[in-house]
Symmetry: C2
Subunit: 334 residues, 2 copies
């Protein structure tokens, strides 16, 4: 008991004993048994982060933002991935809960099934914050970027450049209802007085999955085959945009003269494509930090109410839509 007090700086311990204890601990290479401590105190000082997948630069920066905050507050962060299947998502979530983490951040894409699970987690009174999927259940905070507004801005930018026929690559039209980026695209067209044409929306057949380079590549080839093909493309993300750029090159189309292309996410590579890619940047690290702060306040019981934070996106114009820019203007600033 005295040793416990000495090592944890709690209660009364004389200076001499404290010194002897810490020397002995050093010599024996003593490390506290965290599972045993959690058994008694019901706290692990650890949080779980559930990511959709790991390849994503998005995930990396998100984790960075969260770690900044969690590290500073003395929480250990453990990460698990749900490689895009709900089953794996459940398993990882359950593993965190079984290991008794103090709180959870969930950054996987929203699905009906997934939401159900989150609901039941929240009912177990486990502090929970979501990122990128606005969930409106009691007991869950959420942080998200305004994808709708970002997409709206990007498409409006294309319209202002004079484009009338604008395609969307990255989702099948029937799956787009829930995708805020797609809604922003539709809204921008309508706001400009033009009616969206269903054949201008192309995407992977297997449902609302993440869009890849390959989807972008195939998507553009498909659009180019139309009788009156689009003169501009708004892609669901930069990967799809880059795939589309590649397809345009293959077809001998010049970017942006024959076809303008814009993406979403501003991945690091986006500034280094040929030509550099116009895209929408979302404040990723800030979302991570906000989520971490929400979670900490919940875990410490400082916040009971459910909160939602939505952050603005920023359009970054580069030469894939606007040829008049010089290269230097579009490189990221150090």
């Amino acid at each position: 008991m005295t040793a416990s007090r000495a090592l944890n700086d709690s209660g009364y311990v004389s200076e001499s004993v404290r010194k002897r204890v810490s020397q002995a601990a050093e010599k024996l290479r003593y490390r506290p048994n965290i599972p045993a401590r959690q058994l008694k105190v019901r706290r692990l000082n650890a949080v779980g982060i559930l990511l959709p997948d790991i390849a994503n630069p998005f995930s990396a920066e998100l984790v960075g933002g969260m770690k900044d905050v969690f590290d500073a507050e003395g929480y250990t962060t453990f990460i698990a991935t749900a490689n895009r299947t709900v089953k794996e998502e459940n398993a990882s979530l359950q593993a965190f809960i079984d290991h008794r983490v103090d709180g959870l951040v969930v950054a996987t894409r929203g699905t009906m099934m997934g939401d159900k699970v989150l609901h039941s987690v929240a009912q177990q009174r486990i502090p929970l914050v979501t990122i990128g999927r606005p969930v409106h259940f009691r007991g869950i905070d959420s942080v998200t970027a305004n994808h709708y507004q970002g997409a709206f801005d990007a498409v409006t930018h294309l319209i202002k450049l004079g484009h009338k026929r604008i395609g969307f690559i990255g989702i099948a039209p029937e799956d787009g209802k829930l995708l805020r980026r797609y809604q922003g695209y539709l809204a921008a067209l309508k706001a400009a007085g033009s009616e969206p044409r269903p054949e201008y929306t192309v995407g992977p057949a297997e449902g609302p999955a993440y869009a890849t380079q390959e989807d972008g590549y195939r998507g553009l080839l498909q659009l180019a085959r139309l009788h009156r093909p689009p003169t501009a493309i708004f892609a669901r993300n930069d990967f799809a945009a880059i795939g589309a750029m590649h397809a345009a090159h293959t077809l001998g189309l010049s970017i942006p003269d024959d076809i303008a292309i814009a993406g979403f996410d501003n991945i690091p590579l986006a500034a280094f494509t040929a030509p550099p890619l116009t895209t929408v940047e979302q404040p990723i690290a800030q979302q991570g930090q906000a989520a971490a702060r929400f979670l900490i306040e919940r875990m410490q019981g400082k916040s009971q109410q459910d909160r939602t934070a939505m952050m603005e996106c920023r359009l970054i114009v580069r030469q894939s839509t606007d040829r008049t820019l010089s290269a230097d203007q579009t490189l990221p600033v150090r």
Copy 2:
């Protein structure tokens, strides 16, 4: 006790009791307290994976390979990142150990300091496998790709195409001693009878960090300023290669006619650059699987001896070095 037996299928339990127990467990939403179990049985059935960072497609596939194996064997995997600082690496490692994981996979880049820590972990008899850094301490298994051979093959490919002046982008010459990709580059030049020229090696100033697009961009600009610039570039990784391609475009150089560029890693994007990038592929998922199997055998006490697995890399030739290929040949197969 009977409930424990019923839920764990161990010892004698009558069918009727087993049924009653599992129904009660269901109704009460009972979940075993894993930390408490570990306290008693000294096993957590969980492993820790330490990654250098998360943005990397490499990390993603590695984790995929490991999860395949660990999931099948009933181990939970937790991930932590060491965003390229040794301090963070130590902290994450220690966190895993303090939480009493059964074993560790470490995939961070090798450093002197880092190796020391691994050594001390191995001395605590914690099963440990490294990926991508051959460590030769007692008690540690390691898995790696043959980066040396991959680089050798890529540079030899450039030489066979007739290139005499071949640059390396991605590391400062003085830091290259330990980088196997750089050694392979040097060896290939020597094997072809040409002496490496130090001014043809350029890289980030801040030591042996990971090379980025930006490093590639700056690197090529620097090489292009030389009196007799290289006609071919071998980049430390695909990110640097893509940055170099962008710089070549900016300078109005044609790829591969004015300058041939090859990378390393075969990131998914590599097939979709303009032109598609020649690169070296390493068997990532297999490395992950091998590491997981090594670790499992150690954790189960089936293997005492120290083992090392080295896997071959494969050169993938695309149009960034060889114009005669058609586009279709170089796209990845589904």
